[in-house]
């Protein structure tokens, strides 16, 4: 605790209180939406208009501006979900539990988008919609893990118990994350190796790289927006008998 500066600690302590979280995210939301729209517009303009066509794949490579960020997000959100779940499990912070479960549907959607765009791209490029190679299979398993988390949460009536169950499941499923990430390096399959996250020099031209990174950032913001909206609804649902919710509703009338 000594390593973390005091204002940061205070910020997190205050964010753990439901009324403060609710009010704060309400004020934050317009900013997030504006940043998201700007980033998406810039990323799509750069990716679809400014970036040159690929010498081999022509224009069909442009699907990476959706596919690659979605695939990154599918892993990122799972890790966020597992970490939030672990925090909820250890310190019993209600908001961490809510963030964990609110992340699951968003992550499942991104995984689904990554799979669908990948197969749309695979048809003209590989000549097949689907191959059972390591990365595709592990990404599909990730989708099933997300669906398992959502299903388990829905099946348990007491939502605090459900959050703990989901956190345990999410932590067990984390084993899959490194397998997906390194699958293209460990197994030599149809899916190409990484082109962006190489340490020395990315093997992608800078005019194609910048829009890709912009899109990746914009997807992060989209995740924040979608997750926080879900979290706010979930919070209201769980706290429907609390004083601050009553006060807020009376105030708005």
């Amino acid at each position: 605790m000594f390593l973390i500066p005091d204002p940061v600690v205070r910020f997190f302590h205050r964010m753990a209180s439901p009324p403060h979280f609710y009010a704060f995210t309400q004020r934050l939301m317009p900013w997030l939406v504006v940043i998201f729209l700007l980033l998406t517009a810039a990323g799509l303009y750069g990716g679809l208009y400014l970036a040159p066509a690929d010498y081999q794949q022509g224009d069909s490579y442009r699907i990476i501006y959706i596919h690659v960020p979605s695939a990154w997000m599918s892993l990122f959100i799972y890790v966020v979900m597992a970490v939030a779940g672990a925090i909820g499990l250890v310190w019993r912070i209600k908001l961490a539990e809510i963030v964990a479960i609110s992340s699951a549907p968003v992550g499942a959607s991104f995984t689904f988008i990554a799979l669908v765009t990948g197969s749309l791209w695979g048809k003209p490029m590989w000549g097949t919609w689907w191959v059972w190679d390591a990365r595709l299979t592990s990404e599909l398993i990730l989708l099933f893990l997300y669906l398992g988390v959502i299903g388990l949460y829905g099946a348990i009536d007491d939502k605090r118990t459900a959050s703990r169950a989901v956190a345990i499941l999410a932590l067990v499923g984390v084993v899959n994350i490194p397998i997906i990430h390194y699958s293209v390096e460990w197994w030599n399959t149809l899916h190409q190796g990484p082109t962006v996250t190489k340490m020395d020099k990315p093997s992608i031209h800078v005019t194609m790289l910048i829009p890709l990174l912009l899109m990746a950032l914009s997807f992060k913001f989209y995740y924040l927006i979608a997750m926080l909206q879900r979290a706010r609804t979930e919070l209201l649902l769980r706290e429907r008998n609390a004083q601050w919710v009553k006060a807020m509703i009376l105030e708005s009338k």
């Binding site: 893990l145 348990i156 067990v172």
Partner: protein, 224 residues
């Protein structure tokens, strides 16, 4: 009572209970045999095709049999309250849970190994891959019990946990299926399978060490 005493007492108790209710041993085994019999009937009598997919058929059937047998792991203890006694005992829950999982594997996993060679011969698998098939089943089915225990501990308190259990457990079974199926396939064509066997051993050791802890945590959650 020392920890090792408690550990073996739990194993002994579960084995005695299983021997008194023999259907618990017979059901997964019959299911395993029946599912494998369905494949030749569904595909038709095509020896070459059957021979080619035999490792996959046997392993998928073993997976389903293991999954269906999971429910008996904690169900009766949950219903009659002995699970709470296990959680209340002074010994670490994860060790006692490991004892229960081992007993469960001896009752439901081990019999699969005994009939598997017979079924492999039915499907026309080459004789030299039988040993590898048995080895993968010996290494793989305990992992199925260990991972399945996490799922069943999460859902034991639910009234309709059956469907959700398959959604939780099957994705986690996939690595075992991939490496075991691949090993048997490779052995059939006379290729070395050391890598796959080593990975299966690694998965088994990891599961032995890591799986009882989330299972114990999930049981505590399901009880209250």
């Amino acid at each position: 009572m020392s920890l090792s005493h408690a550990f073996f007492a739990v194993i002994r108790r579960d084995l005695v209970l299983a021997l008194r209710r023999r259907s618990e041993i017979a059901n997964p085994l019959l299911f395993f045999i029946l599912v494998i019999t369905l494949f030749p009937l569904g595909i038709g009598a095509q020896p070459h095709l059957l021979q080619a997919i035999a490792p996959g058929i046997i392993w998928v059937s073993a997976l389903l049999a293991a999954m269906l047998s999971l429910d008996s792991l904690f169900r009766s203890d949950f219903d009659d309250g002995s699970l709470e006694q296990i959680l209340l005992s002074p010994h670490p829950t994860s060790v006692l849970v490991l004892a229960k999982i081992i007993a469960h594997w001896l009752v439901t996993g081990l019999p699969l190994l005994i009939v598997a060679p017979l079924l492999a011969v039915f499907l026309g698998m080459p004789n030299h891959s039988l040993g590898i098939l048995l080895l993968t089943l010996l290494l793989g089915t305990p992992v199925l019990s260990l991972i399945g225990a996490i799922g069943v501990a999460l859902t034991v308190g639910l009234r309709r946990g059956g469907m959700i259990l398959s959604l939780l457990v099957l994705p986690l079974y996939v690595p075992v299926l991939i490496f075991a199926g691949n090993a048997v396939q490779m052995a059939g064509s006379g290729l070395p399978v050391d890598a796959q066997i080593n990975i299966l051993i690694a998965i088994l050791l990891m599961a032995l060490v890591l799986a009882p802890m989330p299972t114990a945590a999930a049981l505590k959650m399901s009880i209250n």
